[in-house]
C-alpha cells in the first residue's frame, strides 16, 4: 500500500488540505494519507523530509498560502527551494500547491481558487503515483491548476 504525505500550515487562511484529501480519496483507493501541519510555508520542507523519513510516504503534497507582502514572496521562494532540495535528496515527488493571497479578489474568490487548486494538485499527485500516463497524455497542453487551462498554443 502506498502512502501519500499531506503537509499544510496554520498560516494559510483556507483549509486547503481538506479539499486535497477529499479529492485524493475520490480519486482511488489503495493508499494511506499521512497528515502533518506546521506553522508556515518555510516549515514545509522539513515537514516533508520527516514524512518521507519517519512515515515512509511515497509522495508529498505541500500546501501553503503566502500573504500579500513583498516579504511573503521571499518566504515562498525560500520554501520552494527547500521543497525542491528535499524532493531531489529523497528522489521522490513533492507536489507544491501554493496560493498567494493576492491572486484573488475577495475572500470568496480566494477560497474558490484555493479549493480548486488544491483539488487539481491532488489529482496530479494521484496521477504521479498511479497513472503517470495520464500526465504524459497531456504533455504540452497548457494545463493550469486553480484557473482555466491556458490550452495548447495550437489546437491539434
Amino acid at each position: 500500500m502506498k502512502r501519500i504525505g499531506v503537509a499544510d500550515t496554520t498560516f494559510a487562511r483556507v483549509d486547503m488540505a481538506r479539499f486535497a484529501v477529499d479529492r485524493l480519496k475520490a480519486s482511488g483507493t489503495g493508499f494511506r494519507i499521512e497528515r502533518t501541519t506546521v506553522p508556515g510555508i518555510k516549515d514545509l520542507p522539513v515537514a516533508c523530509r520527516k514524512l518521507f523519513r519517519e512515515r515512509s510516504v511515497d509522495l508529498c503534497l505541500a500546501l501553503g498560502m503566502p500573504g500579500k507582502a513583498e516579504y511573503d514572496k521571499t518566504c515562498a521562494h525560500e520554501a520552494s527551494l527547500g521543497l525542491i532540495l528535499t524532493g531531489v535528496l529523497e528522489a521522490k515527488p513533492i507536489v507544491e500547491c501554493f496560493v498567494f493571497e493576492g491572486e484573488a479578489d475577495g475572500p470568496r474568490a480566494l477560497e474558490r481558487l484555493a479549493q480548486r487548486r488544491a483539488e487539481e494538485h491532488a489529482e496530479n499527485a494521484y496521477s504521479l503515483l498511479y497513472h503517470p500516463e495520464r500526465l504524459a497524455r497531456h504533455a504540452g497542453e497548457g494545463l493550469r491548476q486553480g484557473f482555466e487551462d491556458a490550452g495548447p498554443v495550437r489546437r491539434r
Copy 2:
C-alpha cells in the same frame, strides 16, 4: 527527555531568547534547553547544525533581528535558506523567529512585537515536539506570530 535548542544573536536589539525560554518553560516540562549565541543571523544555520550534532537537540528555535537596510534583507534571505538546508539535512524542525527592525514604529512597539513573536514561536516549537495535533487543529486558520491572527478567509 527531549532537548530544545535555542540560538540567538548579539546583533539583535531585543533579548528575544529570554522571552522564548520563559514561554517554553511555562508550556510544559520534560525537556532540557540548550542555548547558544552567535554574532549574527548568518551564523544561525551553523549554530543549529552544531546544536543538533553536538548537543543532540530535537528541535531548534532560531531567533534574529535583521536591520532596516536593503542589505539586511539579503542577509535574512541567506540565513533563512541556510536554516532550511540545515533542517532538511537533519530532518528536524528549525523554528525561525525573525523580527525585522522596520516592522514596528519605535522601540517600545519593536520590543513588544519581538516579545510576542518569540513567545508565539516558542509555543509553536513546543507544539511541534509534544502536541502536533494542536497545530493540525488550526490548519488553514490564518494564525500569525507577533501580530493579530489574520483568521480564516471564511468563518466556519
Copy 3:
C-alpha cells in the same frame, strides 16, 4: 546501450518533447529514450533525479515553458537551480530547454521557437553523449538555440 531521459510538463503550451524526441531519433541510434511528464517546471528536478535513479539514464533533457508573469520567472529560477543541483549530485548532464511564453509574439512564432529550441537542444544532448568533439569544435562561436546564432565576436 545508452539511455536518454526526456522530462516535460503538462503546463507547457507546446509539445516540445515530441520535437526533441524526433530530432534525437534522427541524430543517431544506439540509445533508448525514457519519457516522463510532470505538472510543471518545478517538478522537473525530481523527475530527472528519478530518471537517473530508477531508469538509469545517462543524460536528461528537461523541457518546460514558463508563463509570462513575474512569478513564472521565479519558478523558472527555482527549477533551474534544482536542475543544476540534480545534475551536480548525479554528475550527469541535464540539458535544460526552457522557452518563456513572452519570448515570441503570437502562437505561431512561439511554436516555431519552441520547436527549434527543442530540436537544437536535442542535438546538443546527443553531442554531449556521443560526440563531445562537435561541441568542442564550436567553443566560443556564439551558438544559440531557437534563435539565429550570435556568432563569434570576430570571424576567424
Copy 4:
C-alpha cells in the same frame, strides 16, 4: 591545540587579514593560524572547505571586500550562500567579514572601517572558539562590527 583558518582575497583593497590576525594573537594563545589567499570572494567557500579538510581548522574567518557595482552585490550573495553551505556541511563556524566598498566615503574611512570590522570579527571568532559565554552575555544587545553598536532597544 585549536586551529583557526583565515581566508582572504587579492581582490580586496585593504589587507584585512593582517588586522584580524593581529587581533586574534592579542586575544589569547593556544591556537595556530592557517592562512590562505584566493582571488575573489566567490573562491572563499572552497578555500574554507579546504582549510577544514586539509588543515583541520576548527573555525574559519573569511574576509572579503566586494566592489561598488550591482554585480558585486550578486557575487557577495553567492559567496555568502557558499560560506553558509560550507559551514553547515562541516558543522563548523565560518565568520564572514565582508566590507562593501560603498560602505565608507573615501579611502581612509574605508580602511578604518575594514580594520575595525576585521578586528571585531576576529574577536567574535575567538569568543566562538574559547569563550561562547561572552557572546551569550551580549545576546540581544545590538552589537555591530565596524560601526558603533546599535545597542539594545531599551536599556536594562
Copy 5:
C-alpha cells in the same frame, strides 16, 4: 602530475579557453590539461563535476560569456551558485571566468577584455595549484582580472 580542467561553452562569442590554455602552458609545466565544451554556462557546474570525477582534475577553470539580457544575468547567477556548490562538494577550486557581453563596447574591446581576463584567471589557477604564496603576497591589493587593478586603498 597534476591535472587542470578547462570547461567552456559554445554560447560564448570569444574562444576564451584558447587564451587560458596558452597562458597556462606559458606559466609552467608538470600538469596536463583536460578540456570539455558544453552548450552554455548553466552546463558548467556538471561539466566541472565530471572533470573532477571522471578525469581526476585538481582544479577547474570555468569560462563563459553571458549575454546582455536581464535573463542572462539570472543564468549567470545560477551557474555561479552551481559552480560554488560543485567546488565545495569536491573541496577543489573552480576558477570562474565570466565575461558579460555588456561589459565592453564593441567587438574588439570585448575580445580584448575576454582574452585578458581569461589569461589572468589562468594565472590565478596556476598560482592556486603551484604557488599559493604568490596570491598571499597580493592579499588585499585590489587585483582585478581583465581590467586595470584597482590597487590597495592606501599605498604601502
